[in-house]
């Protein structure tokens, strides 16, 4: 055990810090903060920022160089994330692609698919959203009904799923984060109508501008169109846009879900940075109103300690992964912990701000704490509700019986 970073890691940190300090759009340098990524203009501003990162090869540091990365390891990625949040850089508009789909592409994608999809994802030229939930399939994801039918290909009709043939997609997906503006969607469709539940599903990659795709943006709790419904009506998709094996989409999707719940989506830097801001807020409020701040002191301390616990747990897990271990159902513990820590940080801030917490800016948008609070409220719901995660922990880590 040696909890210091190596000299090379420290050098990497300083290199990332220098680039970010010079390039992150902030109020201080007049290039930021960027408008909300849940607006059309904000989405494109975020895309431009990530393109600039990509041009300097900072957008996906842990990917191989051939796909736009630097080929650095897991620890370096965590260090980069710490620097990214330390610099006050914007939320990643590419997050569904780079943090969720990409690990799945690396594991299940063909070399041709990797070459086709990863570079444009790294450069933010193609921004992905996720098409999993349906109106009647939320926590019960295996109940999805959107379907894909094989239309064959070539002179002989082809083998089901081969690259020369096509699929026709019909159905409806919902709660697609960034779906209002995204370029492509990855989603699960039922390919074997006879199969039950999580069998007979296939993982598809579909351009949002394909004929038959209709997007209906949905205003979120904050009033902005952060997610969307996506309708599929006879959408033709070539066979080479299936990720993984036909009818084995569930296991491919669970790999994505593991990333979503586990290490890659929510690096600890996001929470330690917010915890640092919470401490500063607490210090300011204490100067104005010691008794009022004192009533929130234990909540502040608890949130800060939990953020640090999450950071340590991540490095602990990363050590295990680098030694050849894998993250299985333990990812569900992660998801509960980061989502509840995020909420605890923002709830403490809301209490410190008191009545003023609910005020909007002159342009009608929430400030950072209120915006963060509203976003944090979604955490225990998306990526599988925390109730589902607790079931997974109980059944697959503790060995309790399924109902």
């Amino acid at each position: 055990m040696d909890l210091r970073f190596t000299e090379r890691q420290e050098e990497f940190r300083l290199e990332a810090r220098a680039w970010l300090e010079a390039n992150v759009p902030t109020a201080a340098n007049g290039r930021g903060p960027l408008p909300s990524l849940d607006t059309a203009a904000g989405f494109e501003a975020h895309r431009a920022w990530e393109k600039a990162m990509s041009d300097a090869r900072w957008s996906v540091v842990s990917w191989p160089e051939e796909f736009g990365g630097r080929g650095v390891g897991l620890m370096e990625w965590l260090i980069f994330e710490e620097e990214y949040y330390r610099a006050g850089a914007p939320t990643r508009v590419s997050q569904n692609g780079i943090f969720l789909l990409a690990p799945t592409l690396f594991e299940f994608g063909t070399p041709a698919q990797q070459a086709r999809f990863l570079p444009s994802m790294a450069s933010a030229e193609v921004i992905w959203c996720q098409g999993w939930s349906e109106p009647d399939a939320g926590s019960d994801l295996a109940a999805i009904r959107s379907r894909a039918e094989w239309r064959g290909g070539g002179d002989d009709g082809g083998t089901v799923g081969d690259d020369s043939g096509t699929w026709v997609l019909n159905g409806q997906k919902t709660w697609c984060s960034r779906g209002a503006f995204a370029d492509w969607v990855f989603g699960l469709f039922r390919t074997d109508p006879e199969a039950q539940r999580h069998r007979g599903l296939t993982y598809f990659l579909v351009p949002m501008d394909a004929p038959g795709v209709t997007v209906r943006p949905i205003a979120q709790l904050d009033g902005e169109t952060g997610f969307a419904e996506v309708f599929f009506e006879d959408v033709v998709v070539p066979g080479d846009q299936v990720l993984g094996t036909v009818n084995q989409g569930w296991s491919v999707a669970m790999a994505t879900a593991g990333s979503e719940r586990g290490l890659s989506l929510r690096s600890p830097a996001r929470y330690t940075e917010a915890a640092g801001r919470l401490l500063s807020l607490y210090a300011r409020r204490r100067a104005d109103d010691p008794a009022g701040a004192g009533r929130v002191a234990d909540e502040v301390a608890r949130a800060v300690v939990d953020a640090e616990a999450y950071r340590l747990h991540t490095y602990w897990t990363a050590t295990r992964v680098l030694a050849g271990g894998s993250v299985g159902p333990e990812a569900s513990m992660n998801k509960v912990f980061w989502s509840e820590t995020d909420l605890a940080i923002h709830e403490a801030a809301m209490r410190l701000l008191g009545e003023d917490a609910g005020l909007l800016g002159d342009d009608g948008t929430p400030g950072p704490w209120l915006d963060g609070f509203l976003f944090a409220l979604a955490g225990p719901i998306y990526a599988g509700t925390n109730e589902i995660q607790r079931n997974v922990v109980a059944e697959r880590v503790l060995g309790l019986p399924r109902p």
Binding site: D298, A309, V336, F337, G399
Partner: protein, 349 residues
């Protein structure tokens, strides 16, 4: 950044587990609870033989000369086993004070006590002035006591010890009456303050480590019960209300564990944040253990509320140690105060 324990450290834990599986069963813990001292000289001798007791004693004095990162897994294992012996007090707390203390008096104490301690012939107890009663004082051969900021060492037989009864039958606190004298003084002033602060940090980390093991045992025991116990024709563990209790307990433990290990590392490395890290560890581990105790009792139902069922042996350890050396709220306040000092000095947190 490498968070992994070494093979030797893991092997040591496995050896301790093998020993406690054989000699520290619930029935044997119950025997200790009704024994004169609250612990077993036979088990202590076995622990000394294995090198556990003398782990922090320098090799020149017959110990292994190892640090807290080597000890932390063993303390956790002691909690899992419900070990009644004063391993925390002797090896994690008493010995490092003697090792670190400056001066000739400390030299003499080291020469007299460290070899005997490593050999399992002497046990130590540690108390501060704020404590009404000192855990394990009744059977300790040497007491290390803080009074007015100074540190003293007093042989047990030179004190008057009035035993108190505690809910955790292995804890054996005693009210210690003694007169400080030039002969008892180890160190005073600033040097004593440094030693006392280090002692309190080690105590927070060390009791946190034991609490991890206690929580682990309670969760394992309770999950097994939830699989076996049938109501409404199905195991109660198939109900979500029960699942979520246990999942929450496990999550609290899972995220406390690396914080305790980090505190051990920081204390060994002399990291300037070590005190804050020790407080984070104790806050998280205390909540993990008391949370696990609460869930254990609730899921067991009435049988868990009995003396006959073994779960109380661990629940009572959880409550006692969560309250010892500052509870979770105390340590969170300490973390907040230290981090705010940093904010005011303009340091990154």
């Amino acid at each position: 950044m490498d968070f992994a324990f070494g093979e030797r450290q893991l092997e040591f834990r496995a050896q301790l587990r093998a020993l406690t599986d054989k000699t520290c069963t619930a029935a044997e813990i119950r025997e200790s609870w009704v024994s004169e001292t609250g612990w077993s000289p036979v088990r202590w001798a076995a622990l000394a033989e294995m090198g556990v007791v003398g782990l922090t004693v320098p090799e020149t004095a017959g110990g292994l000369g190892l640090g807290l990162v080597d000890l932390v897994l063993l303390l956790e294992e002691a909690g899992r086993a419900g070990l009644p012996e004063p391993l925390l007090e002797t090896t994690a707390l008493g010995v490092p004070v003697l090792v670190d203390a400056p001066g000739e008096r400390a030299d003499a104490l080291r020469a007299e006590w460290l070899p005997r301690t490593a050999a399992g012939e002497a046990v130590l107890a540690v108390g501060t002035e704020a404590m009404a009663a000192v855990p394990g004082a009744g059977s300790a051969d040497l007491l290390i006591l803080e009074r007015g900021g100074d540190l003293h060492a007093v042989p047990g037989e030179a004190t008057t010890r009035v035993a108190r009864r505690a809910l955790d039958g292995a804890r054996r606190p005693a009210v210690v009456s003694w007169e400080p004298s030039p002969g008892s003084l180890i160190v005073s002033g600033d040097a004593a303050a440094v030693l006392v602060a280090a002692l309190e940090d080690r105590a927070a980390m060390g009791s946190g480590a034991v609490l991890l093991g206690v929580a682990d045992r309670l969760i394992t025991m309770t999950a097994a019960y939830a699989v076996d116990r049938v109501q409404f024709g199905v195991p109660i563990g198939s109900f979500q209300a029960v699942k979520h209790h246990l999942a929450d307990a496990l999550i609290r433990l899972e995220f406390a564990r690396p914080a305790v290990y980090r505190a051990a590392w920081s204390l060994d490395a002399g990291d300037p944040g070590a005190g804050c890290h020790a407080s984070m560890a104790k806050a998280l581990a205390s909540d993990a253990a008391t949370g696990a105790a609460r869930v254990a009792l609730q899921v067991h139902g009435a049988i868990g509320y009995t003396w006959e069922h073994d779960s109380h042996l661990w629940m009572k350890k959880a409550w006692a140690l969560a309250a010892a050396w500052g509870d979770a709220g105390f340590h969170r306040a300490r973390v907040l105060a230290r981090l705010l000092d940093g904010v005011e000095r303009g340091e990154a947190t």
